[in-house]
């Protein structure tokens, strides 16, 4: 077999997963090729031009902490930053930003082009080259063969992609881009378990045809909270967004025309995400609501295009136009890109190990939508882990395993490989049992050291981290030791703020545990109040203090409940021989290959009776050698 080019790692796909994978792999010192069907669309956001959101923002922070690139790119191109859940606890606050779609692509490509060891190649992969069960490389449509020790498939919605708009459907990976058909078939031929999912996108409008006055303005945060730990502040000019609503008239027309919707006519077989429903879904499932939210999101400074968030649809194009014109303020609006639904193949993620490598084929990694996830951030974090492991594998080094008590990335990967997916998987804070520990502001404390160890965190970033770590621990000490006394001038103000008796004296630490006591108040009570740039440190310290007790509590509880989790399951354990397990459960266990009782406990479909049987068995086996 002769190859036209040989690399250590090949990444197939230039989307969010592919970019992170390629960047990380190259920076780990593995020669890496990013093969994409269209170099101009590297880093393209397929749907909502926004990064972050609840739990998603956490992922971006974690990617950044480990040394990934999404956060930086989002910071340089974001045009509407908002920190969500400001009024709630710090653990559930999460940054979000809309980005200039074109700028994002440009920045992403620039970042990749400036990465030594990373080689961009335009081409369509049609087959994997394997020797027995080991990856050797890929074959392109134009006949080229590229060799590699590791291959990461990050093909997004392109595998056997099928777009639906009304009665029309055609093969495509994204509007205007061809699907990846041969590769999809190749994966099936290899015997990988393939399923079908769907997602959708709303129409885009010409901003000049919108009556902006009819909408409610949504302003970005005055002080933008950036994604990257390396960003001090956001430079570029921000844009406003606008909030509107559908009307019952809109809903009526939709209901009248449901038979035109490929979803409801049965043409689409893939399962869609429950929490990203099309407007048809919303109208049908929530019939009692007389209006649904719509957000008008400008796509950038240099364009008139506007994204109509909340109107995902696969209704016929003419109907989309009519419907949109029924929305107050959009009476004269013009659709420049219609909305559509897209079905695509995915591969059951239970095929993967914790390193995102397929179990059957050495050197083959899957990241992103191919694993059944939805969302740029979900894809990117998988790309990062897969890229890291692809490089480590190619270099013969030990793989990286991210734990679920350490990060949302760990939660996501663990959920995927142990539970599989029934619908496109999206992160939520509730997916993490350790939600209180996984804050967006402490992602650096949790993951920077790991990133540094791998070699993905540059000196400048590492120094910043260490400095911040020191500041925070110093601040913590000060807050613990500083007391507000009755005799102090500040006592009255503090008392007023919390609304109850503070006693003769109270430490700032104690004070901060009360609801309603914010960073501003605490800062004002410090012996040396900090400048606004230091407020983030104060907030982090206060978050640590607030949650400490609850976290301790939770730890002792779960220790008690789950102290069997560490119980090891022998490698050749015979699940079939256990009484009390249905054949389906046995199948899932054999597939999941749990190493410990804790792993087994998380396998989807395990009943308590089955677990009891397993536990009793393991304990008996362990007791009598």
């Amino acid at each position: 077999m002769s190859f036209d080019e040989v690399f250590n790692v090949i990444v197939i796909g230039g989307g969010h997963a592919g970019c992170e994978a390629a960047s990380a792999s190259a920076r780990l010192g593995a020669s890496t090729a990013l093969v994409t069907m269209n170099l101009d669309l590297i880093g393209q956001m397929s749907c909502n031009p926004a990064i972050g959101g609840i739990a998603k923002g956490h992922l971006v922070r974690e990617i950044d902490a480990l040394g990934g690139i999404m956060g930086r790119v989002a910071d340089r191109t974001g045009i509407h930053f908002r920190l969500l859940n400001r009024s709630r606890g710090p653990a559930v606050q999460s940054p979000r930003a809309q980005s200039d779609r074109a700028q994002y692509r440009k920045e992403m490509r620039l970042t990749l082009e400036n990465t030594p060891g990373l080689h961009l190649r335009q081409g369509t992969v049609v087959d994997l080259i394997l020797d027995r069960n080991e990856i050797r490389g890929v074959e392109l449509l134009d006949g080229r063969k590229l060799g590699a020790r590791s291959v990461v498939i990050a093909t997004g919605t392109f595998l056997n992609g099928q777009i639906h708009t009304g009665p029309k459907s055609y093969s495509a990976g994204r509007a205007g881009e061809p699907a990846s058909i041969e590769l999809a078939e190749a994966l099936k031929r290899l015997g990988l378990p393939v399923g079908r999912l769907k997602t959708g996108t709303p129409p885009r409008l010409d901003g000049r045809t919108i009556d902006w006055a009819a909408f409610e303005v949504q302003r970005p945060d005055k002080e933008a909270v950036p994604f990257s730990f390396g960003t001090d502040d956001i430079q570029q000019e921000q844009l406003d967004c606008y909030l509107g609503y559908t009307t019952s008239e809109v809903h009526r027309v939709i209901r009248q025309n449901l038979n035109c919707s490929p979803l409801y006519s049965g043409k689409i077989t893939g399962v869609g995400p429950r929490y990203c429903p099309s407007i048809e879904d919303k109208v049908v499932k929530f019939a009692s609501k007389d209006r649904h939210q719509l957000f008008l999101e400008p796509e950038g400074h240099d364009t008139n295009e506007v994204y109509l968030n909340g109107f995902s649809t696969s209704l016929p194009v003419e109907l989309q136009q009519d419907l949109v014109r029924l929305v107050p303020g959009l009476g004269k609006s013009q659709i420049i890109r219609p909305g559509y639904a897209i079905e695509y193949d995915f591969v059951d993620p239970r095929e993967l190990g914790t390193d995102l490598q397929t179990r059957r084929f050495r050197g083959l990694f899957h990241a992103g939508q191919i694993n059944g996830t939805t969302g740029y951030e979900e894809a990117a974090c998988q790309g990062l882990i897969a890229g890291i492991n692809a490089a480590l594998s190619a270099q013969g080094r030990k793989s990286l395993r991210i734990r679920r008590d350490q990060s949302y990335i760990g939660v996501l990967i663990d959920d995927l490989i142990s539970q599989g997916v029934d619908e496109p998987y999206r992160v939520f804070t509730s997916r993490a049992e350790n939600r209180l520990m996984l804050r967006f502001d402490n992602a650096d404390a949790r993951l920077r050291p790991l990133g540094r160890e791998l070699g993905l965190v540059a000196n400048r970033d590492w120094d910043r981290f260490e400095a911040r770590k020191d500041r925070i621990s110093e601040l913590r000490r000060v807050i613990k030791e500083t007391r507000v006394r009755r005799s102090d001038a500040s006592y009255a103000a503090a008392s007023l703020a919390v609304g109850f008796n503070l006693g003769d004296s109270i430490s700032l630490e104690q004070l901060s545990k009360r609801a309603g006591v914010g960073a501003d108040l605490i800062n004002s009570l410090l012996p040396q109040p900090l400048e606004s740039s230091g407020m983030r440190d104060v907030q982090s310290v206060l978050a640590d203090v607030l949650y400490e007790g609850y976290i301790e509590n939770h730890k002792t509880q779960t220790e008690r409940l789950y102290h069997h989790d560490a119980l090891r399951i022998p490698d050749d354990y015979d699940f079939r021989g256990l009484g009390g397990l249905s054949s389906e459960m046995v199948e899932r266990l054999e597939r999941a290959q749990p190493e410990t009782f804790g792993d087994a406990r998380r396998v989807a479909g395990m009943t308590s009776a089955g677990l009891s049987a397993l536990l009793v068995n393991l304990t008996v086996a362990n007791a009598s050698p």
């Binding site: 609840i54 559930v92 939520f428 509730s430 009484g579 009390g580 308590s608």
Partner: protein, 449 residues
């Protein structure tokens, strides 16, 4: 998976003894036991066969065989129940043969463990089976049956549903902050949480009576010699004898009897005769008396009402244990009904052990521990200490959530206690179990059940 065997009926002679076999080799073993490889066993059909393995000149017994095919059996495995004559000798022989032919003696509670493992019972039902067998009164039996039927699980599921509703509201509020969701009505939620906590606490509290139903009210009769303790003891026992076997765990002691008053189990202990001997024995006796009093739920202090009121040497204070003062011998003419203050006594009752006068009132006072619950058909009671503990903790968790809500904290803190409560409740129905719990429960289970 082994095939297990055990005697399912109580040891000792009786007309019929039942041996139960469960496991993959059940039918194979039974065929060998009857010496007929062509034997066909059909579920729902009983067959009469001689138990005569090949090579045996004489049959061990003629037995009735009942076959239950998996999964429609107690354990969920193939089960055969062999009903033989209840001679201990025969039963022993049959079991020995089963062991030779590939079976193994079941561990205590192993049949039920398998039932649990095969999903035939959930944990609270398994506990109920144990309790049903151990029931020493009608009321206790009825409670166990209710639990076996799943009434506790049902109550728990209802509470689980409500908790989940509250969790959903809170989680949605913080997760879908950009969606158009209705405002969380904090007042309403707070009230709802307190209601849930109240339900859980209320159910937990029934353990006060519940455990008495299961374990029996321990009543100790104390007093100086010759006040009529034994007469009273005998009077109560004679009219309230329960059909019961030995109390497990205690040495055979003719001074303790299990009786049933209006369906409530009472364990009556007489301390008669313990002080009427020489020094050495008396010292032992005093020790035992103190022990009986310390262990008691209720102490009956008997005094002779026909003697003049003197400086009665009343027993040392029994720190919080209920005490009744019983003035005996009201049939004698010298009996005085006095009006002195008896602060440490709940009630003063005049009786005559001889004639039976006042005994009804005494009995009523004894069982007033059981509160308003009518033994015949009370509400659901918690009879298990573990369940009581879990319910109490669950109630506390929900209450603390309500407090956190009240204090104005954010949803992710409010919801913690609710998740904990959900987990604790899951522990009751067995949705989350640990090995320790399992072994604790089943070590109290007798073989063969």
């Amino acid at each position: 998976m082994d095939t297990i065997v055990a005697l399912s009926t109580a040891p000792g002679r009786s007309a019929i003894g039942v041996i139960r076999i469960s496991g993959p080799r059940t039918t194979e073993i039974v065929k060998t036991l009857v010496g007929d490889q062509e034997l066909t066993l059909k579920p729902g059909q009983v067959v009469v066969r001689n138990l005569q393995p090949d090579g045996e000149a004489v049959a061990l017994d003629q037995a009735v065989l009942s076959y239950f095919a998996a999964p429609h059996s107690y354990t969920g495995e193939a089960v055969v129940e062999i009903s033989c004559h209840g001679s201990p000798v025969i039963l022993r022989q049959v079991i020995d043969y089963v062991l030779v032919f590939g079976g193994r003696l079941a561990e205590p509670g192993e049949f039920t463990l398998r039932a649990l493992g095969n999903g035939k019972l959930n944990l609270s039902q398994a506990i109920a089976v144990r309790d049903l067998i151990a029931a020493r009164s009608d009321a206790a039996a009825k409670q166990a049956v209710r639990q076996l039927k799943g009434e506790l699980s049902q109550r728990m599921h209802e509470t689980q549903e409500r908790l989940i509703q509250a969790i959903v509201i809170l989680e949605s509020a913080l997760e879908f902050v950009e969606d158009d969701l209705p405002e969380v009505e904090k007042e309403k939620l707070h009230d709802s949480l307190l209601e849930i906590a109240g339900n859980l606490a209320g159910l937990a509290q029934t353990f006060g009576v519940g455990h008495l139903l299961r374990d029996g009210l321990r009543v100790t009769i104390a007093g100086r010699p010759n006040v009529g303790k034994s007469s009273l003891f005998n009077a109560l026992v004679r009219s309230n004898r329960a059909i019961v076997t030995d109390i497990p765990g205690t040495t055979r002691d003719s001074l303790t009897e299990s009786i049933s008053i209006n369906g409530f189990p009472v364990t009556l202990t007489d301390t008669a005769g313990l002080r009427e001997s020489s020094d050495q024995i008396e010292r032992l006796g005093v020790g035992r008396t103190h022990q009986a009093i310390a262990d008691a739920d209720l102490v009956l202090l008997i005094v002779d009402g026909s003697l003049p009121a003197e400086d009665r040497n009343l027993e040392p204070d029994s720190n919080g244990t209920r005490r009744l003062l019983v003035r005996n011998k009201m049939d004698l003419p010298s009996f005085r009904s006095e009006n002195t203050e008896r602060k440490s006594f709940e009630k003063v009752i005049d009786v005559s052990a001889m004639t039976g006068a006042g005994l009804d009132e005494l009995r009523a006072a004894i069982i007033s521990s059981f509160g308003d619950c009518h033994a015949a058909d009370s509400g659901l009671l918690i009879t298990d200490a573990r369940q009581h503990d879990l319910l109490r903790r669950a109630a506390d968790e929900v209450t603390s959530s309500a407090e956190i809500l009240q204090q104005g904290h954010s949803e992710e803190l409010i919801v913690l206690g609710l998740h904990n409560a959900l987990r604790l409740i899951g522990d009751i129905t067995g949705e989350t179990t640990t090995e320790d719990i399992l072994s604790e429960i089943f070590s109290t289970f007798c073989i063969g059940k």
